[in-house]
């Protein structure tokens, strides 16, 4: 229950922010918003002891019973880690943003988006139901779109937001298809139930497709190659957003999905190969590209891509444990998952700190370009210390937490190479070399952050603002993260025992309680440890490469490096726009008359075709009531009105004749003793006729159309055919009763719903969902009309200029 509520608290808070902002109108609003993630963090943290004991919590709001869709939340070790990251880093980011964003920004809007995003992320990690998870998943895409486009007057922000949304949402839709396939196989949407029963379904043909589609969702979200291109562009967002989205949350949703689905798909070799190789390649590609960046934020973006690749590849390696059954080997593979989870936490701490440092530099100096920076150590000692801690942790140096997880990463690779799984060819060795090279580049760019920015010569003429240390408040959040970076290094096992152990149990439900599933993290493995040797190698080669960067950077200008995925994406986008423009132009003529022709032709072909094809037109008049003279009269009146409309000389006549038709229908209802319908029809007719008369002013002059005789004949035929089909359809429906009439059910309306008026109980009780949505649609239509007409006149002449 607590967990279900905790998802909604950010959303509820988001509703109140605009009202609060109206009253305060200053950056103080941030302090109020800060309470939300803090409260949630404390609540979630209070679950740590019981989760560490192996307990899990579920809570279900029954929702759509018939489709098996319920709002079920599930708290286990895995979702707890992510929940703590989302709320913990979220608190720090909000604390940082209070000082970072100026009061002139529309802070109300900013915090609404941020809270929406936070709620959506919590929804993703706590949902047990696949459909609910999907809804929250896409909500993270939408809210991050809003966040990235926060400075929407900049063209680049809009481009970055659109790009990230296009890529992540299309991945999300693929994932939805995968979820539906899973449901088709297993008959349930609950992740927990699927984990239990999936063993029976691994041979189904859909299984592999479902896996690939789910992976597509995960890869697009966590920016794996070749979907990584959105992440650097997403850096157009304000820095607090970048720190939040790209260190702790949005991109980690993909990681979460892979971790969550490891018990489902992990036993499959396809999963193992795809996840580990995509991860390793992304690790390499990201780190290799990060080195050439001159914008510090872009550098961090590529570094995030690469670090996510690292975590992804570890999850891939770890999944092999499920393939092995209970054996010593499976425990060795499982260590990779342990390393992945550990690195996930570490990455959030050091990358969050680094993003904030870059934000401070940008804020205080007005530039993030490494080529302009230098010698800042003397002016900004605190910022420098934080940057040093973060970068060295990222490079995998002691005594920082990145060292521990980097060592575990190397160790897992070495172990995996020695096992038979990799004996096919030399894949294991290639993996090891690629990962090691990637680490070298990681070392190089980490050094760039520290040395090129803070050491060397200070060039005051190349920066835009005078340099000084950032205010205390802005340094507070990154300092906390930096302290964590060191703290985790010295006390890694408290995290290991309390957070990682239950998460491991969640990823490996079959191995739960196995000996050595949660290893003790130690910093020192002795001189013979291959991981240590690899780290030393990384430091030596990395230092050499950093020193001589000038001489080898030419490598970035040769062929494969200049192939640009971004260009391909843009070209595709333009092509897509052109194609859709072309096709739209084919049928969008701008004449209402043409659209009616399309609609009715389609109707004739599909409905008429179906009737003729199935031969299902039967006429059964035996049950019909006799037709009385009154009814003949009304029909006659309607027919006359309808026909004379064709020959009307003025628009006014036509409108009035149309009214005659409507009122005659109301009469019909009266004759058939349906007072509700008659009343409704009469009032609707009155109001629409009044509306029609209002629109009169805008319509062009009423003139007889001079169209060629062929068109007239064709239109006549279409009209005749459509009318015939409707009549045939009505008669056929009357003659064919495939099911018992359900009116008996509604006749009990007084017992069931306490109302004597059947029509009304149907609208208000039995089918209230329809009515509710109709009301909403009506409301949207009203607002639509209002904005179409009002804003057209107000906005004229003021366009948004690109800045």
């Amino acid at each position: 229950m607590t967990i279900s509520l905790s998802i909604f608290i950010p959303f509820i808070a988001a509703i109140f922010v605009p009202f609060l902002y109206k009253r305060i109108q200053s950056r103080k609003i941030g302090w109020f918003v800060l309470l939300v993630p803090l409260l949630l963090f404390v609540t979630l943290a209070s679950f740590i002891p019981s989760i560490a004991k192996g307990e899990t919590y579920t809570h279900t709001f029954r929702w759509i019973e018939s489709a098996g869709i319920h709002f079920t939340t599930y708290l286990d070790g895995l979702s707890l880690i992510f929940g703590l990251l989302i709320t913990g880093v979220g608190s720090l980011v909000i604390l940082y943003s209070i000082y970072y964003l100026s009061e002139r920004e529309s802070l109300g809007r900013f915090y609404v988006y941020l809270l929406l995003f936070m709620g959506a992320m919590l929804g993703v990690v706590f949902s047990d139901n696949l459909m609910v998870l999907y809804v929250f998943w896409e909500l993270t895409s939408i809210s991050s779109f809003l966040l990235i486009a926060f400075w929407y007057h900049r063209k680049k922000s809009r481009y970055g937001a659109q790009k990230s949304m296009l890529i992540t949402v299309s991945g999300g839709i693929a994932m939805l298809a995968g979820f539906i396939m899973l449901h088709t196989m297993t008959g349930t949407y609950s992740v927990r139930e699927i984990v239990v029963t999936i063993g029976q379904y691994t041979d189904e043909p859909l299984f592999v497709f479902a896996m690939l589609l789910v992976l597509l969702g995960a890869f697009t979200k966590s920016a794996q190659f070749p979907f990584h291109i959105w992440l650097p562009d997403a850096m157009e967002a304000p820095t607090p957003v970048s720190a939040y989205l790209h260190s702790a949350t949005m991109v980690k949703a993909g990681i979460y999905l892979v971790a969550r689905f490891t018990p489902i798909f992990g036993g499959e070799m396809t999963w193992f190969y795809i996840v580990s190789s995509v991860g390793i390649f992304t690790l390499f590609w990201g780190s290799f590209n990060a080195v050439k960046q001159t914008d510090l934020k872009a550098l961090l973006a590529y570094s995030t891509i690469s670090q996510l690749g690292l975590v992804m590849s570890l999850f891939g390696l770890g999944s092999a444990a499920l393939n092995e059954g209970h054996s010593a080997n499976s425990i060795i593979y499982a260590q990779a998952t342990f390393a992945a989870l550990f690195h996930l936490i570490n990455h959030s701490t050091f990358k969050g700190a680094l993003f904030m440092v870059v934000g401070i530099l940008d804020h205080e100096l007005g530039t993030r370009d490494v080529r302009r920076l230098g010698g800042l150590m003397a002016f900004m000692p605190v910022t420098f210390s934080i940057a040093l801690i973060g970068s060295f942790s990222m490079a995998g140096l002691p005594p920082f937490n990145g060292f521990l997880s980097k060592e575990m990463f190397f160790e897992s690779l070495v172990n995996a190479r020695n096992l038979e799984l990799f004996d096919v060819g030399t894949m294991g060795t290639i993996f090891l070399i690629v990962a090691w090279l990637a680490s070298v580049f990681t070392f190089v760019y980490s050094m760039i952050i520290v040395f090129q920015t803070f050491f060397g010569e200070f060039q005051p003429e190349r920066i835009e603002k005078p340099s000084r240390e950032a205010p205390f408040g802005m340094l507070l959040a990154p300092s906390i993260l930096a302290i964590l970076v060191i703290g985790i290094f010295f006390f890694p096992n408290s995290i290991g025992n309390y957070l990682l152990r239950p998460a491991m149990a969640a990823v490996y439900p079959t191995l739960e309680g196995a000996e050595g599933l949660t290893p003790q993290i130690v910093a020192w493995h002795g001189f013979n440890s291959p991981a240590l040797l690899m780290t030393i190698g990384v430091i030596i080669l990395g230092a050499v490469l950093y020193k001589f960067y000038r001489y080898w950077r030419g490598i970035y200008t040769i062929a494969p490096m200049t192939w640009n995925l971004d260009a391909a994406f843009n070209a595709n986008l333009i092509l897509l726009e052109k194609a859709s423009h072309f096709f739209t132009r084919l049928y969008m003529k701008g004449y209402l008359k043409d659209y009616l022709v399309y609609i009715f032709s389609f109707f004739i072909v599909v409905v008429g075709g179906a009737i003729v094809y199935t031969g299902s037109y039967t006429f059964d008049f035996s049950n019909d009531a006799p037709v009385t003279a009154n009814e003949y009269l009304i029909v006659l009146a309607m027919a006359v009105a309808g026909l004379s409309m064709l020959f009307a000389k003025s628009r006014m006549t036509a409108i009035i004749l149309n009214g005659v038709l409507g009122y005659s229908i109301a009469f019909f209802f009266v004759v058939f003793r349906a007072p509700d319908l008659a009343l409704t029809q009469a009032v609707v007719e009155t109001v629409t006729t009044a509306l029609f008369l209002l629109c009169f002013y805008f319509l062009p002059d009423w003139k007889k159309e001079r169209s060629p005789i062929g068109t007239k004949v064709l239109n006549g035929l279409i009209a005749f055919a459509a009318g015939t089909i409707v009549t045939v359809l009505a008669l056929t429906v009357q003659g064919n009763k495939m099911f018992e009439s359900i009116s008996v059910y509604f006749e009990d309306s007084y017992q069931l719903a306490g109302g004597k008026n059947i029509v009304n109980t149907i609208l208000g009780d039995f089918r209230a969902f329809d009515t509710m949505l109709e009301v909403v649609v009506l409301f949207i239509a009203g607002i639509g009309v209002f904005t179409l007409i009002k804003l057209k006149t107000r906005k004229e002449g003021q366009d948004f200029e690109d800045q």
């Binding site: 209002l694 306490g754 609208l763 208000g764 239509a781």
Partner: protein, 140 residues
């Protein structure tokens, strides 16, 4: 175009009240007799439409100073809100409840949550119809 139709204006003054009363009656009696939120709302809005037709927009706005967009929003909110309300009591979404109460003036009266839901429908209908008509006519 200047309209100054004294007879129509005088008649309207009386008729509007009859229509409004009828609309409320339709709305309230909806659950057991012909009527309900949708028709009630439509009848109410037809009264407003009549006012708009007879007087000009500014006069009507002075007399009825509501923002009809907000009324429509309130209606939609009520309709969705009653649905969520039942969830808070652990029932299915949109479950309605009814009960008989002995009220001081009305005597034995049936009260049900459907009434709130229907009120939402009615308010949305009124709000939307009047919004559409007044925006279109203001644009002239």
């Amino acid at each position: 175009m200047k309209i100054n139709d004294v007879i129509l204006q005088t008649v309207t003054k009386i008729v509007v009240f009859i229509i409004l009363t009828f609309g409320v009656e339709l709305f309230l009696s909806g659950h057991n007799n012909p009527g309900g939120g949708f028709i009630g709302g439509l009848v109410l809005s037809s009264a407003f439409v009549l006012l708009y037709l007879v007087h000009d927009i500014d006069t009507v706005h002075k007399g009825i100073p509501f923002d009809f967009k907000k009324i429509a929003a309130l209606g939609a909110f009520l309709a969705v809100g009653t649905g969520i309300g039942s969830v808070l009591f652990g029932k299915h979404f949109l479950t309605q409840a009814a009960g008989h109460f002995n009220l001081p003036v009305f005597g034995e009266t049936e009260l049900s949550t459907v009434l709130v839901f229907e009120a939402g429908v009615a308010l949305t209908v009124v709000g939307v119809v009047v919004t559409i008509i007044s925006t279109i006519s203001e644009d002239v």
